[in-house]
Amino acid sequence: MALQIDRWFSLVVKPLVFVACLLPLAWLLWLTWQGQLGVNPVETLSHRTGDWSLRFLLLTLAVTPLRRLSGWNRLQRFRRMLGLFAFFYVGLHFAVYLVFDQFFDWQAIVADVAKRPYITVGFTAFLLLIPLAVTSTNGMMKRLGRNWQRLHRLVYLIAVLGVLHYAWLVKADLREPLLYGGLLSVLLGYRLWWWRGRGHSATVIRSTR
């Protein structure tokens, strides 16, 4: 029975989620093809890919709390996929910047990263995601052992940098970045609560021993 659910899960559910994760990209490509990206198409591409980068980061961070709250352990298997999609959309987002904003002008890019806080922060987040993507395989997980988890805690910092990036680039209307910031606080706050709780129970266990 459990085996059947497992097969159904990996043959049907996972591919469906995978395809769903590609829908934002498909939608953007469709709009591009139709010339429906609006008055400033490059800006639209940059903003939409940025939005989805942040959304996938938050979705990735939502997996563990949801798994614990629901008790549905299979959810954990989406974590890697969602994280890699976050990296994928950040990659697209950066590509838009590289090609259409800067047209491979590396000097200007270096100046931008050095000078503009929102780019500094976004670029740092992008760079930090690279080692996480590279070490996301089962082999790497085994090789790194306990260090794998330590390394992958970087994703908390990355998400914070992502929100900061957004907050820093808006001119006056902070409502959306604050919304994402609020969601992130809930997701990170949950972890603090959980770790503290576990810490407590650990000491309780020790003292009763």
Partner: protein, 305 residues
């Protein structure tokens, strides 16, 4: 010597870098037409247009009237065209105050006097590093201000946008401190390029573009060009303008388009002309250096940005 460190450039010696730009544009055109051939029609069309374009090819009416920064109607670019329709622009009164002999409340027609609007095709450069080319109709400000007989104390002119949260939904939020205020030094206001605008593309000015009366100062970033003006005040002190009081490190009073002075968040060296796929070089004073650089002779434009 063509290439200089930005710090060395003083307004009096700015040469329009058109010569330099043309060489680069040629290279870009070749690359760009190549790219256009392999891209989807929507983008490809845009690129091909960009390649063939000169620096005064008007941006389509549709784009000019649906991509606006006008926070009184919301903070996204599409908000103004969606929300501004209900603004009542008739009748319209303009109050003239401050250091002048003829203050008072004037109906818009009386404020404008007997001047017939002229057409001016100007580049508009937003501080967010995008730009358009727009055929405006309007009256040069220097044909209007003298009628109110500003006195010797009138060193600046201040302009105020309508304050009416019932009609302007953005004013029900605290995005900016309302009403929007902008200002010019008297010599800037009296410069022949400075225009009070009442029309666009030969039609009445749409609400989202600042109807019924707005300012256009083509060598300054767009936020200087205040919309829906209800008050003109002659002052002795430099007016406290909205964006520069909101965030003095990022927005100055002068706000002259200047590729050598970066905004902390956007590089000002380049801009994306709406309709183009790639950025082009931004010109000092938005390409109007020849006409206006003299206004700033002897000023350090890095400090007075």
């Amino acid at each position: 010597m063509l290439i200089k460190k930005p710090a060395d450039i003083r307004p009096s010696e700015i040469t329009p870098p058109e010569l330099y730009a043309r060489r680069r544009e040629f290279l870009k055109t070749a690359a760009v037409l190549g790219a256009a051939a392999i891209l989807p029609p929507a983008l490809g069309g845009r690129i091909a247009r960009a390649a063939a374009d000169d620096n005064l090819k008007p941006t389509p009416y549709q784009d000019v009237t649906t991509y606006n920064n006008y926070y009184e109607f919301g903070s996204s670019k599409s908000d103004p065209s969606e929300n501004a329709g209900s603004l009542k622009t008739k009748p319209w009164t303009v109050t003239v105050e401050g250091h002048c002999e003829k203050p008072g409340q004037y109906a818009l027609e009386d404020f404008l006097g007997s001047q017939t609007p002229e057409e001016r095709i100007y580049r508009l450069r937003c501080v967010e590093a995008w730009s358009m080319v727009i055929p405006w109709q309007g009256v040069p400000l220097n044909k209007i201000l003298p009628r109110f007989q500003p006195t010797a104390n009138a060193k600046y002119v201040e302009f105020t946008t309508l304050l009416d949260p019932a009609q302007m939904p953005g004013q029900r939020t605290r995005l900016l401190s309302w009403p929007y205020v902008e200002g010019l030094r008297m010599d800037e206001a009296m410069h022949p390029l400075t225009l009070l605008v009442t029309g666009l593309y030969g039609k009445e000015l749409p609400n989202q573009n600042g109807a019924p009366l707005r300012l256009i100062v083509p060598w300054k970033y767009g936020f200087k060009s205040v919309k829906a003006i209800v008050k003109v005040r002659f002052t002795e002190q430099q007016p406290r303008t909205t964006w520069s009081s909101e965030n003095p490190d990022e927005y100055g009073f002068y706000a002259n388009v200047n590729p050598a002075v970066d905004h902390p968040r956007w590089t000002q060296k380049k801009e994306r002309r709406i309709g183009d796929l790639f950025r082009r070089d931004t010109l000092p004073f938005n390409g109007y250096a020849e006409q206006v650089a003299g206004l700033y002779a002897g000023m350090d434009l890095r400090k007075s940005f």
